[in-house]
């Protein structure tokens, strides 16, 4: 494998291989790759996507490796070109990868992606015979770093902790005195 010389990617790899299912294909290795490819393609196109948590965890290393290939090898490498072609079936996304995303990380170490988890949410699936079917979803936010969107974790939260508003004043005083006892 020519990717053996690449450095380790800076993201955690899921412990259990997820049996990712999709409509139209029997649950198999092929179906799993199809799902992962769809996620990676969508991620490159949109730069921040919301997915099921297990899919996001599973797809993140693949996306990370793809960006790393671009950063380390460049567009002229044979293996990189092959990988790009397979993972990004749309030609304009290969251009985006090489001209926009890879230059962002030229001087930067991995990880190039971020993953956040949202609290589990119950969402309605469908209504059958006037009966509502709800399902609980674990949602993850997968994004390519340095995107044009506002940051998921705003600096506001850190600033708010230091604000001398009444609640903060009273509570810090209370905690301080509580610790001294």
């Amino acid at each position: 494998m020519s990717s053996a010389t690449l450095p380790r990617i800076g993201v955690t790899i899921g412990h259990v291989a997820q049996k990712l299912k999709t409509g139209g294909i029997e649950p198999s290795r092929r179906a799993r790759l199809e799902v992962l490819r769809r996620i990676v393609t969508r991620c490159v196109r949109e730069e921040r996507v919301e997915l099921k948590w297990n899919r996001a965890v599973e797809a993140r290393p693949y996306l990370e490796r793809l960006i790393q290939l671009g950063v380390e090898r460049g567009p002229l490498d044979e293996y990189t070109a092959e990988m790009m072609e397979w993972w990004l079936p749309e030609r304009d996304l290969i251009v985006k990868m090489h001209e926009v995303i890879v230059p962002r990380f030229a001087e930067i170490q991995s990880p190039y992606t971020s993953l956040y988890r949202l609290p589990p949410k119950r969402l309605q699936q469908f209504i059958q015979n006037k009966r509502e079917f709800w399902k609980r979803y674990d949602i993850g936010i997968l994004e390519i770093d340095k995107n044009p969107f506002p940051p998921v974790l705003s600096e506001n939260s850190a600033k708010n902790e230091e604000s001398p508003n009444l609640l903060n004043l009273l509570l810090t005083d209370a905690l301080k005195n509580n610790l001294e006892k």
Binding site: K96, L118, P119, P148, F149, P150, V152, S154, N160
Partner: protein, 157 residues
């Protein structure tokens, strides 16, 4: 009279003499050695705990799906420092993210306004310009695709 009183008070059998008989017949001692495990189990099957009655359906259902099985306490809840919303400690605050999501979707909508089938590409970095904002440095926008939003930064966030 005394006996009766004792019986009532102490709940004891009446004080009396009785014949205690000891069975003299030789009790068949259990064999210590067995030829196979199956034989041993068969011999001991009386000793092993065996259900005497069928467990009723409600009991089974309660055991499997009682409230303590279906509902589990969430013990990792924390309060968001900026909006006081309660969320699990391993996740980000969904109330704060809702605002970020709305801005992200606005930008995404503009970002996706290109047609790859006629050769359009996302070949430039994106610079987001909110309404009412002035682009101060020319270098920032140089070579970037400017996305103008109809709303102000304060309206969205």
């Amino acid at each position: 009279m005394l006996e009766k009183l004792l019986w009532i008070l102490g709940r004891r059998p009446p004080l009396d003499f009785a014949l205690a008989t000891v069975p003299q017949a030789a009790v068949a001692r259990p064999r210590i050695t067995y030829e196979s495990v199956k034989e041993m189990i068969e011999d001991f099957s009386v000793v092993l705990g065996v259900p005497k009655y069928r467990t009723s359906k409600p009991k089974k259902v309660t055991r499997k799906f009682s409230f303590s099985r279906l509902l589990q306490p969430i013990d990792n809840l924390v309060t968001c420092p900026s909006c006081s919303n309660i969320h699990p400690s391993d996740s980000i605050c969904d109330k704060c993210y809702e605002k970020v999501r709305s801005v992200t979707n606005e930008i995404k909508k503009k970002m996706m306004e290109y047609n790859p089938y006629v050769g359009d590409k996302q070949d430039k970095e994106i610079f987001v310009k909110f309404k009412g904002e002035e682009i101060e440095k020319d270098e920032v926008v140089n070579g970037k695709r400017v996305i103008e939003l109809e709303k102000r930064a304060t309206e969205l966030v």
